[in-house]
C-alpha cells in the first residue's frame, strides 16, 4: 500500500534540509519557493530515504492570485507518494524553474503546461507549444482567457506564415 506522505510531513523534511525553502504546507501538499525548487527536487530524488525517482505528474493550475505547478512524486523504491508545489505570482509572465534536469520525464508535461497556461519553465531545453499551433494567441487554460488584450478572438487569426496575418497576442511574445 502506498504511503501518501502528507504535505506537512514533507515540509518538515524539506525544512530540515533547506531551511527557508518551504513557502506553505497543507495536508495535501507542500509549497516550495521557486528559487530553491530544483535543489529540493534534486534532494528528494537523490536522498536514499526519500528516493522519489518517479515524477508521476506535473500540472499547472491557475489559482487566479498566482499560478502554481504541482509535482506528484512517487518513490518506487519505498512505495511512497508526495505532492510538491511551486508558485509563480506574476500573472503576466509566470516563471518557474524547470524540473527537466531532475526528471527528463517532465519535458512533455512542462511543454503542455506552457502551452495551455503560459507558465515559463526556465531551463527547459525545448519549451515550445505542444498541442496548439505556434502562433496561437493566449493560453486557453488561464481563467481570464476570454479577455484577451485587444479584443482578440482566439482561433481566428492563427497559422504562422499565413499571408497577411500579423501575429499578436500573448502567445507570441
Amino acid at each position: 500500500m502506498t504511503t501518501h506522505v502528507t504535505g506537512i510531513e514533507i515540509a518538515h523534511l524539506i525544512d530540515g534540509q533547506f531551511p527557508d525553502a518551504v513557502q506553505d504546507a497543507q495536508p495535501e501538499f507542500a509549497a516550495v519557493k521557486p528559487e530553491s525548487l530544483v535543489q529540493v527536487l534534486t534532494w528528494l530524488r537523490d536522498d536514499s530515504d526519500q528516493a522519489y525517482e518517479f515524477l508521476s505528474s506535473l500540472t499547472g493550475v491557475d489559482r487566479i492570485q498566482w499560478f502554481e505547478v504541482a509535482y506528484h512524486l512517487e518513490s518506487i523504491k519505498h512505495n511512497r507518494a508526495a505532492t510538491i508545489k511551486v508558485r509563480a505570482g506574476d500573472r503576466e509572465n509566470p516563471v518557474v524553474p524547470s524540473a527537466v534536469p531532475v526528471w527528463p520525464g517532465a519535458q512533455l508535461q512542462e511543454r503542455e503546461a506552457y502551452d495551455l497556461l503560459g507558465i515559463v519553465f526556465e531551463g527547459n531545453p525545448d519549451l515550445r507549444r505542444i498541442f496548439l499551433w505556434d502562433g496561437f494567441a493566449g493560453f486557453p487554460l488561464r481563467k481570464d482567457y476570454l479577455n484577451l488584450p485587444g479584443g482578440q478572438m482566439p482561433g481566428l487569426e492563427r497559422f504562422p506564415g499565413e499571408p497577411g496575418v500579423e501575429l499578436s497576442g500573448r502567445g507570441t511574445e
Binding site: 500500500m1 502506498t2 495535501e28 501538499f29 525517482e53 518517479f54 515524477l55 508521476s56 505528474s57 500540472t59 493550475v61 491557475d62 504541482a70 506528484h72 518506487i76 512505495n79 507518494a81 505532492t83 526528471w103 527528463p104 520525464g105 517532465a106 519535458q107 512533455l108 508535461q109 503542455e112 495551455l116 507549444r129 505542444i130 498541442f131 496548439l132 499551433w133 486557453p140 487554460l141 482567457y145
Partner: protein, 380 residues
C-alpha cells in the same frame, strides 16, 4: 574516409498508417538511420481540460471515455475515483468488484489490440489484428450487456457504477474466460515465438530501468524495463487488495519485452476476473449521494450537480497504457476548478527520441507501436 549522406527529413504522419491516429513524427535520417526525432502532436486536441471546467462533475464522465477511447472503462474509473477521493465517498463492495472486473476486461481488450497492431506495424498484414478483434469483440459484447455501449462506455458513476450487470452476464463472462487461455497460447505461439517478430523486436528501443523511471514511463513499458511497479499492487484501489495476482515484468527493456509483459498481463487479468466473479458479493452497486435517486428497474443515477468541498485530489490507477491519473482541484463549485489528466500515452512518449535515435525507420515504427499510445489520450 566515411561516406555520409545528407540528412533527410521525413514526416511520418499526421496521416500515416502507423501513427495510430493523427500524430506526426518528424524523423531526420542519415540513410535509413534516425539521427533526430521530433514529435508533433495536437491534431486531436479537443481542449478537454478546459471544457471540463464548464461542466458538472457528473457531466464530465463522458469526456473520460473519449480520452483513451480504446480503454474507456479505465478512464471512467480513474476520474470517478478522483472525485470520490475529493468528496470522501465510500463505494459499495459490489461496485468495487464490478469496477475491477470491467477494468480487467478492458485491459484484455486493449492489450489484445495493442498486440495485434504491433504485429501490423511489423508488417503482418492485418491478420493478427483481425484475430485479436475476434476476442475484443466478445469483450465488447459483455460491455454492451452491462451498460449498453461498446466503445465509449460511460459505465462508472461517482459513488459506484451506473447499473448492475444482468443475470446472464456472469455465465457469458465465464464462458469467455474458458475460451481465452487457448487464444492467448495461440497468440504467444504465432506472434511472440515468430522468428521474424523476435528479430524485429529484440534489442530494439531499449530503455534501462533508470531511464524509464527518469522519463516517467509507466505501465507495460516500465515493467518491460524490469521495474516491478503496478499501481494495482502498489496502491490497491477498487477490489484489487482482495484478489491474488502477480505483476509481470520483463528483463531486457526492449520492444519485445513490452509485449511479453502485455501478454502475461492479459493472463493475469483473466486470473483476476475469475477470482472476482467468484467472490463478488451482492448488494447495491451505487452509493447514494445527496439527492441521488434510484429509478425503477434498479438503475441508480448520480445527481447531476453537487458541490464537493474545497480541496484537491489526485487519483491514479493502472490503465492498460500505464499510470492514469486525474488531478482535480475544487473551489467548492459545481464544476471542477482544474481538471487535469495525467495521460500515460502522452507521458510514455517522452523517451521516444531516446529510443529512436540510432534505430532505423522500420524500428521507429515498431517502437512507436510498443508505446501503444492512443492519440485521443495524447492530445486530449
Amino acid at each position: 574516409m566515411t561516406i555520409k549522406s545528407e540528412p533527410f527529413v521525413v514526416n511520418v504522419g499526421p496521416q500515416h498508417p502507423s501513427t495510430h491516429g493523427v500524430f506526426r513524427l518528424r524523423l531526420t535520417l542519415d540513410g535509413e538511420k534516425i539521427i533526430d526525432a521530433d514529435m508533433v502532436m495536437g491534431y486531436l486536441h479537443r481542449s478537454m481540460e478546459k471544457l471540463a471546467e464548464e461542466r458538472t462533475y457528473t457531466q464530465n464522465i463522458p469526456f473520460t471515455d473519449r480520452t483513451d477511447y480504446v480503454a474507456s472503462m479505465t478512464g471512467n474509473l480513474a476520474y470517478v475515483m478522483a472525485v470520490e477521493k475529493l468528496m470522501g465517498i465510500e463505494v459499495p463492495e459490489r461496485a468495487q468488484f464490478l469496477r475491477t472486473i470491467m477494468a480487467e476486461l478492458q485491459r484484455i481488450a486493449s492489450h489484445s489490440m495493442a498486440l495485434g497492431i504491433f504485429a501490423n506495424d511489423c508488417g503482418a498484414w492485418q491478420t493478427p489484428v483481425m484475430h485479436m478483434f475476434r476476442d475484443r469483440e466478445k469483450i465488447l459484447d459483455l460491455f454492451e450487456m452491462a451498460c449498453g455501449a461498446r466503445l465509449t462506455l460511460n459505465y462508472m458513476r461517482i459513488g459506484g457504477v451506473s447499473r448492475d450487470i444482468p443475470d446472464e452476464w456472469i455465465p457469458q463472462a465465464q464462458k469467455l474466460m474458458e475460451d481465452l487461455p487457448k487464444r492467448f497460447a495461440e497468440y504467444e505461439d504465432l506472434l511472440l515465438h515468430n522468428e521474424i517478430i523476435v528479430a524485429r523486436a529484440r534489442g530494439v528501443g531499449v530503455l534501462t530501468p533508470e531511464q524509464a523511471m527518469a522519463h516517467s514511463v509507466s505501465g507495460p513499458m516500465l515493467r518491460g524495463s524490469g521495474v516491478a511497479w503496478d499501481v494495482r499492487k502498489a496502491d490497491p484501489y477498487a477490489a484489487y487488495d482482495k484478489i491474488d495476482f502477480d505483476i509481470a515484468v520483463g528483463t531486457n527493456g526492449d520492444v519485445y519485452d513490452r509485449f511479453v509483459v502485455r501478454l502475461a498481463e492479459m493472463r493475469q487479468s483473466l486470473h483476476i476476473i475469475e477470482q472476482a466473479l467468484e467472490v463478488m458479493p451482492g448488494g447495491p452497486v451505487h452509493e447514494r449521494l445527496g439527492t441521488a435517486t434510484v429509478q425503477p428497474g434498479g438503475q441508480s443515477i448520480a445527481p447531476l450537480a453537487f458541490r464537493p468541498p474545497v480541496g484537491e485530489a489526485y487519483a491514479r490507477i493502472e490503465s492498460p497504457r500505464g499510470e492514469l491519473g486525474y488531478y482535480i482541484v475544487s473551489d467548492g463549485g459545481p464544476s471542477p476548478f482544474r481538471f487535469h489528466i495525467r495521460a500515460p500515452s502522452f507521458i510514455n512518449l517522452t523517451p521516444l527520441k531516446l529510443m529512436a535515435i540510432g534505430a532505423t525507420v522500420a524500428d521507429a515504427i515498431v517502437i512507436l507501436g510498443s508505446v501503444d499510445f492512443v492519440v485521443g489520450e495524447v492530445d486530449r
